[in-house]
């Protein structure tokens, strides 16, 4: 809740404290990459990163930059571009704690957070090593049936939700359209930080056609303008992913040195273009 949520990208990144539980969306939902570069630039540390339900380049870069203490996700994938080298390397060198999950478990635990529930049940999982690796998950007997074991997941309540969207208004409302997981993230989180392609002077709730696709201002703490703010990831209906840039990243990130060199280039580039 913030009367004047519009701020500069640098301020937005500065307001993410070290150690924050930060929740981020998957690549097709609006990834705040410009903000991620600002976070790396400011040297954020000790994040508990929750991916809804997976991540790609964003988690990979934050992990590579040493910003992440705990990574909770159903997958980290760069798709056809190849392995997420820094993610794999960090695991092998025990530099991060991994909480491997499954997509519906991330969604359900976040919905529990949204509803203020301490836990939520979920089907599946029983007999998997995923469950065996998560002492924070419990199996109980369904109290409504005989001999029906079921998993309970504790709620996820992030400190901050961070994503990129096409449009906000100056009152703090953010348009997300069909990307409803962003709304759940905002509801479940204490604060929501959003970067946007554009900021309108017109109240988004004034348009009955747009209103159903809005994250209301009451959930939104900070909004920063970031043109092409998802780059090099795409933003549906606005721009495609920059495949050449991602390919170059994956090539470079095979070694830590290559990654750091490449990162330096990206951080400089953003600073110039911003």
């Amino acid at each position: 809740m913030n009367q004047q949520p519009i701020c500069e990208l640098v301020e937005l990144a500065a307001a993410v404290p070290d150690g924050a539980k930060l929740v981020i969306p998957s690549d097709n939902c609006g990834v705040a990459m410009a903000a991620t570069r600002e976070l790396v630039r400011r040297g954020v540390r000790g994040l508990h990163l929750v991916c809804v339900p997976t991540s790609g380049l964003q988690a990979e870069i934050l992990v590579g930059a040493g910003a992440v203490a705990t990574l909770e996700t159903s997958a980290v994938t760069l798709g056809e571009f190849g392995p997420a080298h820094r993610f794999v390397d960090a695991l092998r060198r025990r530099r991060i704690r991994i909480l491997d999950s499954t997509c519906p478990a991330v969604h359900a635990a976040l919905q529990a957070g949204q509803k203020g529930l301490p836990f939520i049940p979920l089907r599946g999982l029983i007999g998997s090593d995923l469950l065996a690796s998560r002492p924070d998950w419990k199996v109980i007997d369904n109290p409504f049936a005989q001999g029906d074991p079921i998993v309970l997941l504790p709620a996820i309540n992030p400190d901050i939700a961070l994503f990129h969207a096409p449009l906000a208004d100056r009152y703090g409302n953010v348009y997300i359209g069909r990307r409803r997981e962003l709304l759940t993230m905002a509801h479940a989180s204490r604060q929501t930080f959003v970067t946007v392609e554009a900021i309108s002077d017109v109240d988004l709730f004034g348009d009955a056609a747009l209103a159903p696709g809005v994250v209301p201002a009451i959930y939104v703490s900070r909004i920063a303008l970031a043109t092409k703010g998802a780059w090099p990831i795409g933003l549906h209906g606005h721009y495609d992913s920059d495949d050449a840039a991602i390919s170059r990243y994956v090539q470079s990130a095979k070694t830590e040195e290559g990654f750091l060199r490449f990162l330096q280039e990206w951080l400089g580039e953003t600073a110039v273009s911003a």
Binding site: C29, S74, A75, T102, C103, P104, H107, S128, D148, R180
Partner: protein, 242 residues
């Protein structure tokens, strides 16, 4: 050597046959062969079978965010889904996490995605992995992302229907907890399957060849289907008839 169709075309055709009777099939974001097969089956049913392709905008009529896939599966509104695995074993267990000991795996893969849920709830899960080697088809997976079978009492309306590889099609027997070799793709042999498979499986005395794509089906794949999948899998569309 040249049967008049590519391996990808054969696999698309086999999967389309397996989807017979389905009302709604969901395909993952980076699964072009199952995607093409689902679109083919949709074409054959004149649109009666619905197809959702995750990550697509054209073949995605969801309005409740990413969770809708999983909620739909729990509601019984998803008849078939596809899963792969860095390792798959003879009990149908799949491993999408990595080899060696967890979490500092020797080889680490992206992660389990929705497998530890959809494998339990979707009635017809088709395991699909083109690579058919002892590296992939192992006696016992190193990490169970999702098990092939569950103990009695565990809620599990879904599970493995079978395993399709670049060499063969196995059905899965949920009572016996075993795969059964149903057909070998043309140009391959039962011996080759035995050599390349790291787990035990049932093998009838006579194993037929996988039926080749019918000419009309091939024409469909190369025509309308290729055009349709171009939106979702542009690179695949340009190569898969080769």
């Amino acid at each position: 050597m040249n049967p008049g169709y590519s391996r990808a075309e054969l696999l698309v055709c086999v999967i389309a046959r397996l989807l017979e009777g389905c009302r709604h099939v969901i395909v993952g974001a980076s699964s072009p062969i199952p995607g093409a097969a689902a679109l083919l089956r949709r074409e054959l049913t004149e649109g009666a079978m619905r197809v959702t392709i995750l990550g697509s905008n054209r073949y995605n009529a969801f309005t409740d965010g990413g969770v809708e896939t999983f909620d739909m599966a729990a509601q019984g509104r998803v008849d078939a889904f596809f899963l792969g695995g860095g390792q798959i074993d003879g009990q149908g267990n799949i491993n999408l996490v990595g080899t060696g000991s967890y979490p500092e795996n020797e080889v680490r893969w992206p992660g389990s995605f929705g497998s530890a849920y959809l494998y339990y709830l979707v009635p017809k899960v088709i395991l699909f992995r083109e690579e058919h080697t002892r590296r992939v088809l192992v006696p016992r997976v190193d990490f169970i992302s999702s098990p092939g079978v569950s103990a009695p009492g565990v809620y599990r309306p879904g599970g493995p229907h079978g395993l399709l590889t670049g060499l063969a099609w196995f059905s899965f027997d949920r009572q016996l907890h075993r795969f059964r070799l149903e057909s070998v793709h043309p140009g391959h042999s039962v011996e080759e399957i035995r050599d390349q498979t790291g787990f035990e499986f049932d093998c009838p005395a006579e194993v037929p060849f996988t039926a080749a794509p019918e000419p009309g089906i091939l024409a469909l794949i190369r025509g309308r289907i290729r055009g349709e999948i171009a939106e979702t899998y542009p690179r695949f569309a340009s190569t898969f008839a080769n």
